[in-house]
């Protein structure tokens, strides 16, 4: 049995649990979030983002966006629907203080340098920081789930991702499909802290 097979099995099991957890709407309990976002918010489901060590404000703003219907997701829309501002702030504070796990993704050797160059060229580092670890309302990309990043960046490019101030939609417009793949391969493999 190799490691990747075991982790794929664990991810499938987690995804199944996550699906059923999403059917319930419960009070603000970080353990409930962890069903889908992983232990202490370190996701093991490729489509779901890690919350651990994300900037506090970046988490609370996304919860707000889900609750207000600005950002939509089959599960998150219902999970956030009944959260108060206070509960959102508490969840954001909790997950921002968790330690991020080492990334599951390994950047390909050719994209390590190319990704760093594109991150400069397309202004990613301006807001997400030189190591893409995020700040204030800007999320950490370093070590984030590859599949999640790919989906989100493609949505920004397609102008279909909720965007508080329009900056990310605007920043994504000049990216080619290939740029997106390189940037995501690069960011997902960076050390989260």
């Amino acid at each position: 049995m190799n490691g990747s097979f075991r982790s794929a099995g664990a991810a499938a099991l987690a995804a199944a649990l996550c699906f059923f957890a999403g059917q319930a709407v419960l009070a603000a309990d970080p353990q409930l979030c962890a069903v889908c976002h992983g232990p202490e918010g370190n996701s093991i489901i490729p489509a779901n983002p890690s919350l651990a060590a994300q900037p506090e404000q970046s988490i609370s703003i996304q919860l707000f966006q889900f609750r207000e219907g600005n950002r939509k997701d089959v599960q998150m829309t219902s999970m956030a629907a009944n959260l108060s501002n206070k509960e959102m702030n508490e969840l954001a504070a909790y997950f921002s203080k968790q330690k991020a796990a080492a990334p599951s993704h390994k950047t390909s050797s050719e994209n390590a340098a190319a990704g760093a160059k594109l991150a400069q060229q397309f202004n990613c580092v301006q807001c997400h920081g030189p190591a893409l670890r995020g700040q204030q309302h800007i999320p950490r990309l370093a070590g984030q789930q590859y599949e999640y990043l790919l989906t989100q960046l493609r949505k920004f490019k397609a102008q279909k991702r909720a965007d508080l101030d329009g900056n990310m939609t605007s920043a994504a417009q000049p990216l080619t499909d290939k740029d997106i793949e390189i940037l995501v391969d690069y960011a997902a493999g960076l050390s989260p802290q």
Binding site: Q126, S170, Q173
Partner: protein
Amino acid sequence: MSSAPFRQFVPLVSLVVGALAAASAQAQAPAAPAAPPSWQQGRSAEQGNSTLHPFAPHMTGRASKDLPVDKLKVPAGFKVEVWADGIPEARSLALGDKGTVFVSNRLAKNVYAVVDKGGTREVKTILKGLNAPNGIVFSKGTLYVAERDRITRYDGIENSLDNPPAGKVVIDGLDPQNQPGHFWKYLALGPDGKLYYNVGAPGNIVMPGYFQASISRVDPKSGIVETYVQGVRNSVGFDWHPQTKQLWFTNHGRDWVSDDMPNDTLHRVSHKGMNFGYPFCHQGDTLDPEFGKGRSCKEFDPPALKLGAHVAPLGIRFYSGKMFPAEYRNSMIIARHGSWNRTTKQGYDLVRVTVDANGKATMQPFLTGFLQDEKADPPMWGRPVDVLQMKDGSLLFSDDYNGILYRISYAKK
């Protein structure tokens, strides 16, 4: 995208032509990025690695008990206290006839009402699903709301806060180009009964289109629109002098020139048709490095006062109450939201501006304490937006960073 037709093209042509096309496609891909975010527009190549960036509010708000509210300072005899919190991104303020405080926002889609119930205040969401409803004004039972692309009216809303009436459109089509920047609008009702609103410049420093970079007015009865003044990059606050009935407004100067240039400005309008210079001339005396070529600042109307570079002046109110000392009457309280496009931050305060008999305006601090560390990121713990005079003569002001309203009162000693 530019490579797709190229791939079909290759087999049909010689290697030489193919190589040329490849070179051209490669040169185009990185060299032709789409428009940068509007706040980056106009940045020079040397500023490309600048880490300066706008700040976003805490959309879920922050509880006042967790904030250093005791750091806020006002002049002797005045008192500042938290009046209400839990109002997402609290921006513009309007006062209903029955004492309801209406609160707008720019990035959310709701309008809130704060109802004072004998010292405890209830925050109600009264309007939902609006498009950047930054501008609000209340008059004779009607709440007017300026969204990104239209102004609507809600008649009798204060009688039915729990079941608000449907909005009726006063005017729409205000954002035909879906402009990327400065699309939020301020709204105020003039002494002439007309609604005044800004349409900002679509970017930091660009040639504005028809009716952009202006303050316009619309008669809510007839729907007739007039451009009132032009050359205004973006105003997010105006009020009328209680005696002269002249319009005064704050204006944001362009970014990415330098830490100290140009100033944001305060303007007095003596007649319709004035032009305050954007994009050609800034702060009344400085030509734009690009658009100023071949122009003169003498072509334009100068500001009444320079308010500081990048301080982002927003709400402005003439004080007409009786609670504050007599010298405050007819002076202006202006909220400075605070700078982002400056390495050493400034603003994040309320200032008082007085005008002497010769028309000379001077500025002095009124409320400070939000700025914690002018070199930090973020440098502040709160950001003032709009100022509202209450019936008892006290002032409320909003803080969009935390979603809080504060009250400033005065007690004779």
